[in-house]
């Protein structure tokens, strides 16, 4: 097992810069998820760690050893690919054993490890099949099995679940999480799906445009997003963002009555106030406003309502009530300013200095 240290890491293709000056410490034994929209450089970063891409700038160290010039095969890591990358002409058993045979490992040891991996992943019955005879989920298991048998210091996952259907993805997510608990090996996992990131990660790295937006536990990212991008990216349904003008410590938002702000350490006149759909209530709240139901999405344990305010802005409201609102109904929504996240004009989080004055 090993931790990783990334220092001023950069990647460029000619004039095109993919990753700039990235610093990151990955702790030994943690499940780190790299998440971000397409093109944010998360896969490139993973491939640089794997040794499949050159490192243009900075250093990557596994343990205490800088691996910039070490070929992929010498980095003692395993990688699971989005496409699974199974050898189509080999049986499952041969796929699992192939990597081990490179190291002239005794056959008995190869057999033991393959059998162990097959048992863990419950693919014992599939050992003689070819990849084309497997379902997507089974292929994924074999791909993970191929990573496990190496007994690496570090696992890398490149969007491993994105080719699976929704139900299987949820199932494999749980299995991966329990595999992590069982092995305790450092894992670096790339995904564009924030739900995957939230459910599996010890820590999440949110990337955008080749830069780190925020690093933190899922809870930290959800409860204290450091900027508007992270606020908008993490959490489902998506956070509500309200543009506010500030005067005399009063927030003026189109479509809402003016309300008092806590003391904020900023002189910015324009703020963005964010509130999670779950913190908006139907019918009551410290701050209330009238709106019209635009759309009702019944999800069973919750009902997601899209409410149009008089300003025209649509707020998402997650309501667990059984109130049968229908499209076009007038509705009163409310929230507590305590639940708001505040972002300055530059989109950076500002913490209320104190919450006195706000009745909780």
């Amino acid at each position: 097992m090993a931790g990783l240290t990334l220092r001023n890491v950069g990647k460029r293709y000619g004039a095109l810069s993919i990753i700039q000056g990235l610093n990151l410490d990955i702790h030994d034994g943690e499940f780190l998820v790299l998440v971000g929209p397409s093109g944010c450089g998360k896969s490139t970063l993973l491939r640089m760690i794997a040794g499949l891409e050159d490192i243009s700038e900075g250093t990557v160290a596994i343990g205490n050893k800088i691996v910039n010039d070490l070929p992929a095969s010498k980095r003692e890591l395993s990688m699971v690919f989005q496409s699974y990358a199974l050898y189509p002409h080999m049986s499952v058993a041969k796929n699992l054993a192939f990597g081990l045979q490179n190291f002239k490992m005794p056959k008995a040891e190869v057999d033991r490890r393959v059998a162990e991996a097959a048992r863990i992943l419950q693919i014992e019955k599939l050992m003689d099949r070819k990849p084309r005879q497997l379902s997507g989920g089974q292929k994924q298991r074999v791909a993970i099995g191929r990573a496990i048998v190496r007994e690496p210091k570090l696992f890398l996952f490149d969007e491993p679940l994105s080719n699976l259907d929704a139900e299987l993805r949820v199932q494999m997510r749980a299995e991966l999480a329990s595999l992590y608990t069982r092995l305790g090996t450092t894992m670096i996992y790339v995904t564009h799906d924030q739900v995957e990131a939230m459910t599996m990660a010890s820590r999440i790295v949110v990337l955008r445009g080749g830069k780190i937006e925020q690093v933190g536990t899922p809870q930290e990212l959800y409860e204290k997003p450091q900027n508007l991008f992270v606020a908008g990216f993490i959490g489902s349904p998506k956070i509500n963002m309200l543009k506010a003008k500030v005067s005399d410590n009063q927030a003026v938002v189109d479509g809402l009555p003016a309300f008092a702000l806590p003391t904020l350490g900023t002189t910015d006149q324009e703020l963005t106030l964010c509130v999670r759909p779950g913190s908006v209530r139907i019918g009551s709240g410290k701050v209330t406003a009238e709106g019209t139901v635009k759309l009702v999405e019944y999800l069973g344990n919750e009902t997601l309502m899209h409410v149009t305010l008089s300003s025209g802005q649509v707020l998402l409201v997650s309501d667990n009530g059984k109130v049968g609102y229908r499209t076009g109904d007038p509705v009163t929504i409310g929230f507590d300013p305590f639940d708001l996240h505040y972002f300055n004009a530059a989109g950076q989080r500002i913490e209320p200095i104190e919450n006195e004055g706000i009745i909780q």
Binding site: S78, A85, H89
Partner: protein, 310 residues
């Protein structure tokens, strides 16, 4: 109803059929004419002629299996021609395929001017079938030719490559190797079809390059190798113009370049033994068919198709 109502129906059906398909047949006519008059007709005629004695002046005379009997029991040049041709096929086909695969793998590395390189590398194949290249080849390997001149710089005493019966066939094998263009292009397409992440996975697992080649590239390329093998084998059996030119049309020296097709050509158009030549042609056809059949029958043991049904 009576017949009166069915026949207009039939007529209208015919009219519709003609109206709908006439353009297709119109476009097909040149090909159909060519096929029946220039290919199928002569093929069937040659089958008949192979059972006759025919000198192109007098009418063919039926001789039954006499041509075939002579061929297999008394014609020593026939066996010599088979020997030369089989030796050539056995050497030239693997040599060309290995060359083609090697070049394709170099080009697959992704050069910036790959289009240009592909065209340049294909050029020998375009030129290769031409008479000019065969003549050039004769000059290159002549006793006072370029090859010997170059060898001379290194202090190597060259041989009279073409006029020496021991080496003449190998100059043609080298020529065949040089004409790697078309199998190379097919290999290149095949290599492009192998997913890159298989190599990346192998790389991370510490697979040496040679093992990647033998365990990943070759098996996944097997359908393409098979295709090229069948095509090139047929091609090699039919080799004619280069052998004809380099041997001055005779199979010389000492029948060392007596390719089957050269022998056949001489029997037909030099000695006007059209019946015997036809029999030779049919035997060649059967030989090629047998080799192709063997290739197909063995292919299931070594060719893996990705989209195969189970």
């Amino acid at each position: 109803m009576s017949r009166g109502s069915t026949s207009p129906l039939k007529a209208s059906f015919m009219r519709r059929f003609i109206a709908r398909n006439a353009p297709a047949y119109a476009f097909l006519t040149p090909w159909l004419l060519g096929f029946f008059l220039l290919a199928l007709g002569p093929i069937l005629a040659s089958l008949y002629l192979s059972f006759t004695r025919y000198d192109m002046v007098n009418a063919p005379k039926w001789v039954g299996l006499a041509n075939y009997e002579y061929m297999f029991t008394r014609d020593r040049r026939f066996w010599k021609a088979l020997n030369v041709t089989f030796t050539y096929v056995a050497l030239a086909v693997p040599a060309r395929l290995i060359m083609a695969l090697g070049v394709a793998m170099l080009l697959d590395k992704g050069l910036r001017t790959i289009g240009l390189y592909r065209a340049i590398f294909y050029l020998p194949s375009l030129l290769g079938a031409s008479i000019a290249i065969a003549i050039l080849w004769r000059q290159l390997f002549a006793a006072d030719g370029v090859v010997n001149a170059v060898l001379g710089y290194f202090g190597i005493q060259g041989a009279a490559w073409i006029t020496n019966p021991d080496t003449s066939l190998y100059t043609l094998v080298v020529l065949a190797m040089w004409q790697f263009g078309s199998p190379m292009l097919i290999f290149l397409a095949g290599l492009r079809g192998i997913p890159k992440d298989l190599y990346e996975a192998a790389e991370i697992d510490g697979t040496p390059k040679w093992r990647q080649f033998t365990r990943i590239t070759l098996p996944l390329l097997a359908p393409v190798i098979f295709f090229n093998l069948v095509l090139q084998t047929i091609e090699a059996f039919k080799t004619f113009s280069s052998a004809f030119i380099i041997s001055n049309g005779t199979g010389a020296p000492a029948d060392s370049l007596l390719f089957y097709t050269v022998y056949l050509f001489n029997e037909a158009f030099k000695f006007f033994r059209m019946g015997y030549a036809s029999a030779l042609a049919w035997v060649l056809l059967i030989i090629i068919a047998i080799f192709t059949a063997i290739s197909f029958l063995t292919s299931k043991y070594w060719v893996h198709y990705e989209n195969e049904r189970d």
